[in-house]
């Protein structure tokens, strides 16, 4: 019995390690606010774990996870609407729902290209990303460490985003995934 539980945990972890970026990207695109997206992802993970027995081996784990996240996001939007906090308009939300993720395989290829591109960033860019995303250092604090304004740090993060997207497109084109 204990072994079953262990096996279940390991299977879940392996699948999650492989597909977490696809699932998280889905959440973040529809909820473009990192703290809210993190909370939703965490809540969604708890549900995925509880319902893992319903997942059919051999089918797409990412698609299954995204389905669960979708309900979480809809619920989140209902809560937000009740609290009258501003959010993405329904029409745009539905447009994005139709477009993300268009094709799972394509998403995986793009993620792989992006991973390669992150590895190619220079030290400074990696350091800023490490502060921002690994240590969750606030932009204010990063600005203070680097003796820059907050706006400048956002500008740098934006530049890194631009570099990554250009690199991703180039990589996809070189590998024949873009025409």
């Amino acid at each position: 019995m204990v072994m079953d539980q262990e096996e279940r945990t390991l299977n879940f972890v392996r699948l999650l390690m492989r597909h977490q970026q696809e699932i998280y990207a889905y959440v973040l695109t529809l909820v473009p606010h990192v703290h809210d997206a993190d909370d939703l992802f965490q809540e969604g993970l708890a549900i995925m774990w509880r319902k893992f027995d319903q997942f059919k081996p051999g089918t797409s784990f990412a698609a299954w996870g995204i389905q669960i996240m979708r309900y979480q996001i809809l619920e989140y939007r209902r809560r937000l609407a009740r609290s009258r906090r501003s959010m993405m308009e329904d029409s745009l939300f539905e447009t994005l729902l139709d477009h993300v993720p268009a094709v799972q395989d394509e998403l995986a290829i793009r993620i792989e290209a992006l991973r390669k591109c992150v590895a190619l960033l220079n030290d400074r860019a990696k350091r800023i990303l490490k502060m921002r995303y690994e240590h969750n250092t606030s932009v204010e604090k990063i600005a203070s460490y680097l003796n820059l304004s907050r706006r400048h740090v956002y500008h740098l993060l934006g530049q890194i985003n631009g570099v990554l997207l250009r690199c991703m497109r180039r990589t996809l084109a070189q590998e024949g995934h873009l025409t």
Partner: protein, 528 residues
């Protein structure tokens, strides 16, 4: 679509992710995403990029299975709060037990018992806690805790173990050692083939080889094969599952913190380990004779220990500051400050990316070969062994060769690039007329027991009167340690130390350990 569809969209998206956009900015963005497919695609790709970085490994080290398992364990507890008090009670009991054990071990240190299985073959500044090797250097079966320095143990079948502090081991016998914490190297001769190093998560078995093992605080283990082959297996802990991997020369394997996976195919890092006891300046001189501590002079002292620790010279102002620095700054021009308030220090300077000579002395000497840099700097030269790690926001006390630097016993001069400092040897001679300066000695390098921070490569230059007499290169992410021994002619006036990073990089913890000006040895004899 590889360029942002409208100016500043990249920045706007970053602020959006933090909830830092104005309503009108959000409205403009959403309108563009709705109406323009190019903007929409760019937006989706940007969110994907953020997701990859945020849930990824390349920047930060793999998000391990154990992390995820821990996260899942946390998730399992959701809804089970009524058991919360039990968890607290267990944690409290564990802490209490640890305290009791710690106090008990202080009162009555454990003494290794059992047969002698080897002897101490060499030490370098070693300091043990608890049990020591016997008076004749005999090592019995038992636990040993090396707090400072290096030690070599030769076991009776010829296996040689190099320990680098901080390191805790349980010597189990001729064929096995348990590495509780730290790092060691095992050199195993053919007759001792099969020698094992056990850690909390891994069992490394020799297949005729030299290999290094290091454990991290989270329990993960790295095995680096320097010669031959080893087998790396998961420490089974009652499970019937046997997972192992044969790792060959030049490769490394990592066992994760939970002891559930072993990942191979990594390059071995010999620079993580000490493979021989240093024969550096400290041993050669035997610490005899008069020597002047340059770090102490930077700290406002006379070179004999009167300076203040953690005090340095701010490259932005040329004035004294209290280290360690916590901010990176940039200089657009080459910066030069005279430091008349510090006896023995002529000036400090920043080599930047600006064209023009890098002036390195108050008399106008220049360093024509000085590379252009980003112009960034991190405080300035400091009498300290501390560095502030930007990503984690924490200070770290550094070690080289297992020795803690930045103490009165082992002073340190930190010189984070891009920075230079020139000492006025004539002033120093004037202050110490009984001393004939003979050489400058130090160890120089980047400490290796550091947070997992991406470091840039760096270059260190040592000049006498503007002439380069020593150039050291520290490759990116490699923890090389170099001995510095520069003879000082009697006519030389200016000793300059410079640390630079290549143009697009600016983060490297360069440190001079034991930075001493030493007197000629014949003079030492005469002094006795």
């Amino acid at each position: 679509m590889s360029t942002p569809p409208f100016p500043e969209m990249d920045e706007l998206l970053q602020r959006l992710l933090d909830g830092q956009v104005l309503p009108e900015e959000a409205q403009r963005l959403w309108k563009a995403v709705q109406e323009d497919p190019k903007v929409r695609d760019y937006y989706i790709d940007s969110m994907l990029a953020c997701a990859v970085v945020r849930r990824s490994s390349i920047v930060t080290g793999e998000l391990s299975e154990s992390d995820l398992i821990r996260a899942i364990s946390d998730l399992r507890d959701v809804g089970g709060r009524r058991y919360g008090w039990r968890v607290y009670a267990v944690v409290a009991a564990v802490i209490l037990a640890c305290l009791v054990l710690a106090v008990a071990s202080l009162i009555r240190p454990s003494v290794p018992k059992g047969p002698a299985v080897g002897r101490l073959a060499g030490v370098y500044e070693a300091r043990w806690a608890g049990s020591h090797p016997g008076p004749d250097g005999a090592f019995c079966v038992g636990s040993y805790d090396l707090r400072e320095g290096l030690a070599t143990i030769e076991l009776d079948r010829g296996t040689c173990l190099f320990l680098e502090a901080p390191c805790r081991i349980d010597l189990k016998g001729l064929n096995e050692v348990v590495l509780r914490h730290g790092r060691l190297v095992a050199m195993v001769p053919p007759e001792a083939r099969g020698f094992r190093v056990r850690t909390a998560t891994a069992l490394i078995t020799d297949l005729g080889t030299e290999f290094g093992v290091l454990t991290h605080q989270d329990g993960s283990t790295e095995a680096h094969v320097l010669k031959g082959r080893v087998q790396v297996a998961l420490e089974a802990k009652g499970s019937a599952r046997q997972v192992s991997l044969v790792v060959s020369e030049g490769s490394a394997a990592i066992v994760d913190a939970a002891g559930r996976t072993v990942r191979g195919g990594l390059a071995a890092r010999p620079d993580h380990f000490v493979l021989a006891l240093p024969q550096g300046p400290i041993d050669k001189t035997g610490n005899l004779g008069k020597k002047l501590n340059l770090a102490d002079i930077v700290g406002g002292g006379n070179g004999l220990g009167t300076g203040a620790l953690d005090r340095g010279i701010d490259l932005g102002t040329g004035q004294v500051f209290k280290g360690p620095a916590t901010k990176i700054r940039w200089a657009r021009q080459n910066v030069f400050w005279r430091t008349p308030y510090l006896a023995g220090v002529d000036c400090v300077f920043i080599p930047s990316r600006a064209p023009g000579p890098v002036v390195i002395s108050s008399t106008g000497l220049t360093f024509p070969g000085c590379p252009r840099t980003l112009g960034s700097y991190f405080g300035g030269p400091t009498n300290s062994g501390k560095f502030f790690d930007l990503p984690s926001g924490r200070s770290h006390i550094v070690r080289l060769n297992g020795i803690t630097f930045g103490t009165s016993v082992h002073p340190a001069l930190t010189l984070h690039p891009n920075a230079g400092i020139t000492f006025d040897l004539d002033q120093i001679r004037y202050a110490h007329p009984d001393m004939k300066l003979d050489r400058f000695t130090a160890v120089c390098g980047i400490p290796k027991d550091l947070p997992q921070t991406p470091f840039s490569s760096a270059d260190v230059w040592i000049l006498l009167d503007g002439e380069v007499c020593c150039h050291l290169h520290f490759p990116r992410e490699r923890h090389v340690l170099e001995d510095v021994d520069v003879p000082i002619p009697s006519r030389a006036r200016f000793l300059t130390l410079v640390a630079t990073c290549p143009r697009r990089a600016d983060y490297s913890w360069i440190l001079f350990g034991d930075p001493y000006l030493r007197a000629a040895s014949d003079q030492v004899e005469a002094g006795h």
